[in-house]
Amino acid sequence: MKTIGILGIQGAIEEHESSLQKIGCKTLWVKEASDLTRIDGIILPGGESTSMGKQLVWSGLMEPLRQSIAQGLPVFGTCAGMILLAKELDGNNAQSRIGLMDILVRRNAYGSQLDSFVTELEVKGFAQPLPAVFIRAPRIESCGNGVETLASHQGHPVLVRQAKMLAASFHPELTDNTELHRYFTEMI
């Protein structure tokens, strides 16, 4: 049985936990470096990327986490988690983050909470449309060469993959559909 870590600092951690448990994974809240040795992959959940980024630095977890991902620990970032993964941030490029995925992201680009929305996405390789909840969502403005787009919405990529890194600007964990979590565990 695979054990999937969820970065356990802030945000909608329990929702990912519940999606993963539904598909038969063990879960672990990752709070310190030693937790990284006990997991097969890690999810960076939705929440506030500035708060997570700062606390990653303060707690000393940032460097070990970055190293693990650079060395191939499979990672799935949703919303704020995608911001943490982005190499380039439009606006505040100084914001603390992991920064390993070759994407340019703009925070809150879809607007404030009044612009949050629910839709269905066609995902490459998925038989059924995937329900997706966008909440104050970050937008992928451009992708590097090694990045594959798995789904788009209104002309922008919203689900992308680069080797063992997967990132979504939406929240699969806020729906009952577990297909994307299953896809991630199959990357491991």
Binding site: A12, G47, S51, G111, L174
Partner: protein, 298 residues
């Protein structure tokens, strides 16, 4: 989309933002400088208001929605979600706040109530609402009206955690009680709680509220935040406790880290060190019943 599907989608994104705010700290701020301090300290959202609760308490008079200009200045200064307060029942203030395009409205007992009988019908709005409660019945009435997030009230502006503890314990005891009930008991429970039957059934089945459950009103130290988290709060609101302390930057960061590491007493000890003078605070027993904010709303 049918109306039902649109309502469903609206509810999903309201509740979704509330879920994203879990495991964090929301801070009261009265100007741009404080908002930036809050963001730098790792706050997950700020509550923009003209006076923190302890000043509202000290100055008296009618407390109303803040000046939209001040709210917008704060919205432009930070990248994290911005909340603002309207008076209980004052749906016109809520309409104005929604028009500003902020992220969350607090229908708050800290402001002077506009209606002593009815709360706002929050289903009418696209923007999510947070409301206070002192017990399970009050929480479920607010959720029934459309609140996407609940916070226990505590007693704002006192720097005294005792009321926050009382309300969280009452709420959790109410939830545990329903879990132990047989199905045939639930309608009577709903009647006694004054709460919608379907929500009572939800709580009995799931052992939690159908929306996230935060704590407010009296948090002044990292230990207070850890206490409320251990009692069941998924996040904490901090009002006067930060900017009425002698070292707001340090206290703000310490409360954020304490909220994340609320089970780690070793870390909490370190975070509690050398924070300077906390907010002075008020013994709630010295307050007249009529001065308690928590008794506003029903």
């Amino acid at each position: 989309m049918t109306t039902h599907m649109q309502n469903d989608a609206d509810w999903k994104v309201k509740l979704g933002l509330a879920e994203m705010l879990k495991n964090g700290v929301i801070m009261d701020v009265t100007n741009v400088e404080q908002a930036k301090i809050a963001e730098d300290a790792g706050a997950i959202a700020v509550m923009a208001l003209e006076r923190v609760p302890s000043d509202i308490r000290a100055q008296g008079g009618v407390a109303r929605m803040s000046d939209p200009k001040m709210i917008m200045e704060i919205k432009q200064a930070v990248s994290i979600p911005v909340m603002a307060k309207c008076r209980i029942g004052h749906f016109a203030e809520a309409q104005i706040l929604q028009a500003l395009g902020i992220d969350f409205i607090d229908e708050s007992e800290v402001l002077t109530p506009a209606d002593d009988e009815f709360h706002i019908n929050k289903h009418d709005f696209k923007i999510p609402f947070v409301c206070g409660c002192r017990n399970l019945g009050e929480a479920l009435r607010r959720i029934g009206e459309g609140a996407a997030l609940i916070r226990t009230k505590g007693e704002a502006g006192t720097g005294n955690i005792v009321e926050a503890v009382r309300h969280m314990r009452a709420l959790m005891a109410g939830i545990h009680r329903l879990q132990a009930c047989g199905k045939e008991e639930l309608m009577t429970e709903a009647k006694n709680l004054g709460a919608p039957y379907d929500l009572v059934c939800y709580v009995a089945e799931h052992g939690k509220l159908p929306v996230p459950n935060f704590s407010a009103g009296g948090v002044a130290t990292p230990a207070d935040a850890a206490l409320m988290r251990q009692l069941g709060a998924e996040s904490v609101f901090v009002g006067s406790g930060i900017f009425k302390s002698s070292n707001p930057k340090k206290v703000a960061k310490a409360i954020v880290e304490a909220t994340t590491n609320y089970m780690d007493a070793g870390k909490l000890a370190k975070l509690s060190e050398d924070l300077g003078e906390p907010m002075h605070g008020i013994d709630v027993r010295q307050l007249d019943e009529k001065h308690l904010f928590a008794n506003r709303g029903w």
